[in-house]
Symmetry: C2
Subunit: 402 residues, 2 copies
Amino acid sequence: MALIVQKFGGSSVADAARVMNVARIVTDTYKAGNDVVVVVSAQGDTTDDLIEKAHEINANPSKREMDQLLAAGEQMSISLLAMAIEKLGFPVRSLLGWQAGFNTNSVYGAARIKNIRTNRLEAEIAKHNIVIVAGFQGINRYNDLTTLGRGGSDTSAVAIAAVLHADKCQIFTDVEGVYTADPRKVENAQKLDEITYDEMLQLATLGAQVLNNRSVEMAKKYSVELEVLSSLNPVPGTIVKEKIKMEKMLIRGVTKDTDVAVISIVGLSDNPGVAFKVFSKLAQKKINVDIILQSVGRDGTKDLSFTVSRENGPLAIAQLEEMSIIEGKKITCKTDAAKVSIVGAGMESHPGTASTMFEALYAQNINIQMISTSEIKISVIIDEKEADRAVSAVHDAFIPNE
Amino acid sequence: MALIVQKFGGSSVADAARVMNVARIVTDTYKAGNDVVVVVSAQGDTTDDLIEKAHEINANPSKREMDQLLAAGEQMSISLLAMAIEKLGFPVRSLLGWQAGFNTNSVYGAARIKNIRTNRLEAEIAKHNIVIVAGFQGINRYNDLTTLGRGGSDTSAVAIAAVLHADKCQIFTDVEGVYTADPRKVENAQKLDEITYDEMLQLATLGAQVLNNRSVEMAKKYSVELEVLSSLNPVPGTIVKEKIKMEKMLIRGVTKDTDVAVISIVGLSDNPGVAFKVFSKLAQKKINVDIILQSVGRDGTKDLSFTVSRENGPLAIAQLEEMSIIEGKKITCKTDAAKVSIVGAGMESHPGTASTMFEALYAQNINIQMISTSEIKISVIIDEKEADRAVSAVHDAFIPNE
């Protein structure tokens, strides 16, 4: 007998039929002799609908009241799922974030879990109840509701698995697992049986939206074994854990991220501290910079290019224009770029990986604008309109067509 | 400076425009120098919609999970109203039932308030925040959400007014106050300036759906002055309190209740204990009996007639048919009856009241089937199809046409 945490996203419980489907998955797991704790997101578009209702009334409401509003979304989904499980004849209790003991800090809209008081959870499990927990939410020290921000339900699930020392944390989604590339775009994309936390983190950061990054970080920190699998198709998914068996594949996946703006400053004076000043100015506004390229120019100048999210592009430029060292320099912001990346722990010991990637792009006549590498990742910036072709070409160069 | 509790029902906050309207009423009261605590119901049809969603999944869900689900309704309305008040630039905090300290017993779906821990409410008022409280809900000793049942938000408002010793509790509805009869049916119906708790209780019981009975009982018990008024039309409403000034009107209102089934048993043996046995049998199934008429029959028999709600009619008959003393007796259930009543504390000292009422009905050739009287009320059972005509006739006989 094991303790299994199962997490279902909003699309998995979008309507009555899907709620019943989830109830069957949960009760099948329970019938097999397991204790089951289920974490659920709000149904379908509920959260977006609530945000829209709020904005009809106030375009800029306080984050406290927004959290009070949004937390109602999971309240509805957990009670409906509990009713579905009751209908199948199993003992069940739904718990709101605060009832399940989720204590967070007070950053409304993006709260961090401080601790989970597990007494209620443990009492319900001891009574052999299936426990349904509202993901995404908790309370702060003032007894006010908070939400954990984007992907918060994944984090809730991993946190419960960690504090209860669950045997496994299953994340149910609408895909069957983690793929070497987006299967809707790349015909030859293959589902991975296993992947390491670090590889998963890289994939998540690079735009593969299967798992929320904070949840993977937390799973790594507390050694929670994750499984990503489909709520609609009952086949084994992808296991995420610390160490995995040797694989024939050099890389684990190819990703595309189009949320990229490339900012370039031409003709900066070639003095020490210029890069420091530029990036600390951006950090003041919490603008994350991803890839940085600095080239030596002529006549004692240098050029600086870097990428930020598209949303942050105008803000970054406004920040730069306030700086005296930028005065009179040409600044451009290019928003038709995309980042294509390969990820895989195996590439550390294979020096040829980068050249294989670049060769595949060259064969497609795709121009590389910027390059960034880490131990387990290589990213290139290219034209957005060539991105899908680039992903396919790079994928086929690395992943054996089975 | 006074402390005013204001309660708004679901239709008063049904959409964004109405929420803004309520926000203006609340902030006007606050601007006038008052502390304001607002109690809100769920928006419009939210509660019914949630019940429907639940029943799509499970026709008979547990009441615990139903309360968990329904409590989300007020959670949404309080946060949206708080955002509307923020938009107008006033300090505000929304509080869920449990955050506002509402402790109840564990009768899910019809919980009773045990106490209100006022520390949070008082702290927010001390900070000069407008406080928005979710009506209809609380928590029990297990930290599970409960709801107070039909009209529960009225009860929440009166309870807060009682524990905080508020100067007034204003109940905003879609009518301008309490009328001598239904103004949509009786042309000459008049709004009352004042009415006593007891009269209001009689009117509520008799089908005037302005105020929930439990809330009036609680207001009477704790001497909370109520005002019933319109959220759409800013004119003075009706004050409900213990003693009111002498009025020219003998009666306070005429009501019609069509939720009446008349059950008759003919030829019961005329022995002691027969009535006791019949009504204790009905009480076993919690069937409320209203008017009872027992007539002496012939040959040592008697006839028994009584009224129940139409919903309870078939259940009452099923109960009776199980009884040996009923065997072979004729039982009828008549569902085309209505109850017309007059209410007024003044009638106690006016012996002619009943005859004035009966004369008015006689003049319309309306036959009276049953009669029931109390100190401040006279009810008659008549044919349903004559009920509206009866109300008008009785109203005109008592209420001066202004």
